[in-house]
């Protein structure tokens, strides 16, 4: 087990170096950051001096080496736009993104699994058809469109919920949370639904098809033959066996929830990392971009690891050491 975790850690570092390298190559094409840092009347000599200071005139290899060396010390330099250390900026924005992602992941699991079970058990009922239709919408409509529609209905027309932002936040020292204030709770509803809708639809459809599959297997028939009540057959036996693929997908999807929060955050002006990243791209703010990409890569790797470890808990037949070999 320990060997497995260690091996994974080494792989993680490799993955991150590759991500850093790809990211760094891409940054050659985002434009000149200097233009975003100074006004248009700044003279050529001053611009040149600034390039020199920032190390933009060094070769790519040297810049990359600098970056990796810094990253190893959790030092990602200072943002070109805000002139603040990137680590501070990301730390400031990280709680917002995590809260949004967690709430939408929870939302998608808590709604998606029961809906999936229901549609599997009552395949022809009108409610099932309704759920399936909703899930089709969730899968096919792009996030930004859902977000704008929700804003239009619930903020502009009905005036029930705020159209943007995170509301009032409580600072706990190491973490800022909007979940403890009324305005914060109201503010998270629309973005969380927007971000979680796709996941919910996906999980629901996955649970449904897995469940239908499992219900056909022999041991379910046997369980019924034993005269077990429906509740135990469905939830004790059938659902438990559908959970392995659901867990994999939900886990991996959590990574993409964090990563794709970019769009939801932009639509709702949610002050998270995704919004910071998008602004950084527009302004050629390389330090923020590179730190963000590395962080997302690290989150993905960590989630994968957790998912792999969870398999064992759910299905003891899976042996990690054998898989890793």
């Amino acid at each position: 087990m320990l060997a497995f975790v260690l091996r994974r850690a080494v792989q993680a570092v490799l993955v991150m170096i590759v991500v850093a390298l790809i990211a760094f190559t891409l940054f050659r094409f985002v434009g000149d950051p200097i233009n975003q840092m100074v006004g248009i009347e700044t003279s050529a000599q001053e611009r040149e001096a600034l390039r020199q200071q920032l190390g933009l005139n060094d070769s790519v290899v040297v810049q990359f080496a600098h970056f990796i060396w810094g990253a190893a010390h959790f030092d990602f330099g200072a943002s070109y736009q805000f002139k603040q250390p990137v680590v501070d900026l990301i730390a400031e924005r990280f709680p917002a993104t995590m809260e949004l992602s967690l709430v939408s992941a929870l939302l998608s699991l808590l709604l998606g699994i029961p809906m999936g079970v229901y549609t599997a058990l009552h395949r022809t009922s009108w409610l099932s058809r309704f759920f399936l239709t909703v899930s089709l919408v969730g899968i096919s409509l792009p996030t930004f469109l859902i977000g704008i529609l929700l804003i239009f209905v619930f903020a502009v027309t009905l005036g029930w919920l705020p159209s943007f932002g995170r509301g009032d936040v409580v600072d706990l020292g190491f973490w800022t949370t909007g979940l403890l204030t009324k305005s914060g709770l109201r503010a998270i509803i629309l973005p969380a639904v927007t971000l979680g809708l796709f996941q919910m639809a996906l999980i629901m459809r996955l649970v449904r098809s897995e469940m239908i599959e499992v219900l056909r297997t022999d041991y379910i028939k046997f369980a019924r033959a034993r005269g077990l009540p429906d509740r135990i057959v469905y939830f004790g036996h059938a659902l438990k066996n559908t959970l392995v693929p659901v867990m994999t997908i939900a886990g991996l999807q959590f990574g993409s929830i964090i990563a794709f929060a970019i769009i939801t955050e932009t639509v709702f002006q949610w002050p998270g990392m995704g919004l910071l990243f998008l602004k950084a791209v527009q302004n050629a703010d390389i330090p923020i971009m590179s730190a963000y990409l590395l962080l997302v890569a690290a989150i993905y790797v960590a989630i994968n690891l957790v998912v792999d470890l969870l398999y064992v808990v759910v299905d003891p037949r899976i042996r990690i050491d054998a898989r890793a070999a």
Binding site: I34, G39, Q45, E46, F82, S163, Q269
Partner: protein
């Protein structure tokens, strides 16, 4: 006992309720971030405008852009090279310190010091001398009638506060070291920044000790960045913000019809124009080899006449533009009325092209930003279609601003043949236009730094120099007029298109003053 509790609770609730009811909070949203609170670290309209509610200069500009006293009560020109400023007494910084001449001398050094982006606010070789605590002399190397034209955004910082907080120079552009002044503000202005989270939100409180009489009734002001257009409009319509900028042109009618807000579309100072590479012996991006068609004045005139600015105004800008004959807004130059924009004339354009030796036109690449000005890419597309009618085939390269500016400006080696750009003279004065756009430059941009196509005439150099030192306004205006006659009427150096309109979305509960330089000075706003 129970009753007493009830009374107390009621009294408490009453206090709480009335306390809230009397506080006026103004919320506003802009598409960009307030990147730094250090007023010297970025020369940008939005940053300067917002900070203008917190910091003040020696002189200010009123609602009509006229120069009025600020931290200086009055000033006089003792001799052409010596200006004396008498400072306002009894002014205090937000932290309670007195404002004195030392702060002015310090700010003059800091603004011209390392890593400052506002070095152009005052001449590098001007000496700033403290006469006494409330009198300062500016000693210049030569006459400069527009010395204080940009001082409304040269904000005065406290010397003592900057020293104590290790912010002696402007926030460095590079490096980890964080300048205290970039995240905190200590001005003399009518509002105090109490909370600032870069890129998220900034909170201002009214300054009860401000020296002036405050027009605004705001107790608290909250600024949020909302970068997404649709969300910004939704926030305005739902009442989550009282003011939003900019409102996209296609949403203007919807906002006006909403009954909760309206769009104020006053003219802006920025001029959108087209420029030509008139310098390279051969165009970089064209099918004409061995010569540069734009060196021929007839070709430039033909391009000008082939573009139907009225159609651009009507169709692309939905009326929200003022066609311009000059590179400067008519609000900023009194003799603008003497210039008329030549009418659209495609037949004459064709003839001019034929005379110049291009009866079938030619091909050239046009550089265009797609996220900088109002409908910039759409304007370029319209121009492509219009030029096609006179036989000129344009290959349009529209890019995000980060890439666009990197290509066409000095950092990219002025790498363009034909481009669209916008320009606002920071000093609200024609000399800025002449110096930046009509002066010759070298490869490194020395001279007319933003004269991308390098229009270059020795007579124009002399005129620009004369404008700089002429102190008499009537004579100076005549000199400027002559310069424009040479550069625009005779040489067709640029194709000025229009001044775009501002598009402030304003709640019906709020009264504002909209200044054409698009500075958001909410100390003039009121909310009912």
């Amino acid at each position: 006992m129970k009753r007493l509790t009830a009374i107390l609770a009621f009294a408490f609730a009453f206090v709480l309720f009335t306390g809230q009811a009397s506080a006026v909070t103004f919320k506003f949203a802009f598409q960009g971030d307030l990147k730094s609170l250090d007023p010297y670290s970025l020369n940008e309209t939005f940053t300067h405008g917002v900070l203008g509610n917190v910091y003040e200069g020696l002189t200010k500009r009123d609602k009509d852009l006229k120069i009025i006293p600020g931290l200086a009560e009055r000033w006089e020109i003792l001799e052409p090279t010596r200006w004396r400023f008498y400072l306002r007494k009894g002014v205090k910084f937000h932290n309670g310190e007195d404002f004195t001449a030392d702060d002015v001398v310090f700010s003059a050094d800091r603004a011209r010091g390392p890593s400052s982006d506002v070095k152009t606010r005052l001449p590098a070789d001007a000496r700033v001398v403290k006469v006494d605590d409330y009198t300062v002399d500016f000693i210049l190397s030569g006459p400069n009638p527009i010395l204080n034209y940009e001082w409304d955004t040269w904000y005065i910082l406290s010397k003592k506060w900057s020293e104590e907080n290790n912010s002696l120079t402007a926030q460095p552009q590079a490096g980890q070291q964080m300048n205290y002044a970039a995240l905190h503000a200590n001005g003399t202005g009518p509002f105090i920044i109490t909370e600032h989270q870069a890129g998220v939100r900034t909170i201002f409180k009214r300054n009860p000790n401000w020296w002036g009489k405050l027009e605004s009734n705001f107790d608290e002001v909250i600024f949020t960045t909302i970068s997404n257009d649709a969300t910004r409009v939704a926030a305005l319509l739902s009442g989550d913000v009282d003011w939003a900028d900019p409102i996209p042109l296609q949403d203007v009618a919807r906002v006006n019809a909403s009954g909760v807000a309206k769009v104020l579309q006053g003219p802006e100072l920025r001029t959108i124009f087209l420029g030509f590479d008139q310098y390279r012996p051969e165009l970089k991006y064209s099918n004409i080899k061995g010569k540069n068609p734009f060196k021929d004045v007839r070709v430039r005139e033909a391009f000008y006449l082939a573009i139907d600015e009225n159609a651009i105004k009507g169709k692309v800008m939905r009326g929200a533009a003022t066609p311009s004959a000059l590179m400067i807004s008519p609000l900023l130059f009194d003799l603008s009325k003497d210039f008329v924009r030549p009418a659209y004339d495609p037949d004459k354009a064709k003839k001019l092209l034929a005379d110049a030796g291009y009866p079938d036109g030619f091909e050239v690449t046009m550089d265009c930003p797609n996220d900088r000005y109002v409908n910039d890419e759409a304007i370029c597309q319209a121009i492509v279609a219009m030029l096609a009618r006179v036989g000129v085939k344009i290959d349009l390269l529209a890019q995000p601003k980060a890439k666009y500016f990197a290509k066409i400006l000095v950092s990219g080696g002025y790498d363009t043949s034909f481009y669209l750009l916008g320009w606002t003279p920071g000093s609200f004065d024609s000399w800025n236009i002449l110096a930046n756009m009509y002066r010759c430059r070298d490869e490194k941009g020395v001279g007319g730094n933003n004269n991308v196509g390098n229009y270059c005439k020795p007579e124009m150099e002399d005129m620009t120099k004369a404008v700089l030192v002429e102190g008499d306004k009537a004579k100076r205006d005549q000199l400027i007029k002559q310069a424009y006659e040479l550069g625009q009427v005779q040489d067709w150096a640029y194709v000025p298109l229009h001044q775009q309109a501002l598009a402030w979305g304003v709640s019906n509960h709020v009264a504002v003053a909209q200044r054409p330089d698009n500075q958001i000075l909410f100390y003039w706003f009121r909310k009912e």
